[in-house]
């Protein structure tokens, strides 16, 4: 059975990350039931590590100074035999605020192909609106499937070590520089298969920035449109999370 690891740097926003990591656990279990042995590694230095341990994921304790280094740590633990006697066949960088549908990862690319997705959904910081966007660049959104071979050619640490943002671009550029990447395969997907749950105050790219930068295809209530696609438990947890945040904001105001 081929294997796949999600690589998840995390920092703060512990409650949201816990909900998303629990959903990632369901994604991994569904993949494993459907022929791809899947798990994740969480890279953090705070309470998110406890969540990772509770869920049976791998973990790396790393400070948050350089986000790119956290991606590298997770990829290295997943793929480098020096640290993992049974290295993963594929890795997928993933945010601690993302939901991904397991069906995206059943068809895995060959050694010299990276899979990219250009359509995805974003939920506004207040949890009241979901927008579907076309991320019209070569690498698509940050969720990508990389075969281990490409990571190996990049020394298992493909991102520039000192980046605070644009880590996905850095990984892709450095993988390209190795000369091992032959093809980027863009898969046309249902954009609700990737959901980025925004949180106010901590985003590198806010909902407003995403909205201004990428073409909109749809705007709806997130919980209505995601019902039936993701488990009710996960949606209930997320609805509760945004409701609590709204109450807290009111109290502070």
């Amino acid at each position: 059975m081929p294997s796949l690891w999600f690589v998840v740097p995390a920092h703060g926003r512990v409650e949201l990350a816990r909900i998303c990591l629990r959903q990632l656990r369901r994604t991994c279990d569904a993949l494993t039931e459907n022929g791809v042995e899947a798990t994740a590694v969480v890279v953090a230095d705070d309470e998110n590590l406890e969540t990772a341990k509770d869920l049976g994921f791998g973990w790396v304790k790393r400070d948050n100074r350089f986000v790119s280094r956290k991606f590298n740590d997770g990829i290295q633990l997943a793929c480098d035999r020096k640290f993992n006697r049974r290295p993963a066949d594929h890795v997928v960088p993933c945010g601690s605020d993302d939901w991904v549908d397991w069906r995206l990862f059943t068809d895995l690319p060959d050694n010299r192909t990276m899979v990219a997705f250009q359509r995805m959904s974003f939920v506004r910081e207040d949890g009241q609106e979901l927008t579907v966007r076309h991320v019209n660049n070569e690498g698509g959104c940050g969720i990508r499937i990389y075969p281990r071979f490409l990571m190996q050619r990049a020394g298992y640490r493909p991102a520039d070590e000192d980046r605070l943002r644009a880590c996905d671009t850095s990984i892709l550029m450095n993988v390209k520089h190795t000369g091992a990447l032959r093809r980027i395969e863009h898969r046309d997907i249902d954009p609700l298969s990737i959901v980025d749950w925004k949180t106010s105050g901590v985003q590198l790219n806010s909902y407003a920035e995403v909205s201004s930068r990428h073409r909109a295809e749809l705007e709806r209530d997130p919980f209505d449109i995601l019902a039936g696609r993701y488990p009710d438990d996960a949606l209930d947890e997320m609805r509760g999370h945004y409701a609590r945040r709204a109450r807290t904001s009111l109290v502070i105001a």
Partner: protein
């Protein structure tokens, strides 16, 4: 690429780091670093190969 701890040596800010700043960590292409060092703008205090930190764990049951 050289990864290490650097210090801005000259009077000018280098890569956003002022001379008065404490040493900073970065990866810099070898040729770029060599030129900056020759100009007297940059000093390499420590070079190292980045790797996993000491505390990490594989997923539960991964090795069976």
């Amino acid at each position: 690429m050289i990864h290490g701890i650097w210090k801005t040596a000259g009077r000018r800010t280098y890569r956003g780091h002022a001379p008065s700043e404490p040493p900073w960590e970065a990866s810099i292409p070898a040729t770029v670093a060599a030129r900056a060092i020759n100009r007297g703008d940059l000093a390499l205090l420590e070079e190292f190969v980045p790797s996993l930190p000491p505390e990490f764990s594989l997923p539960e049951g991964w090795l069976g």
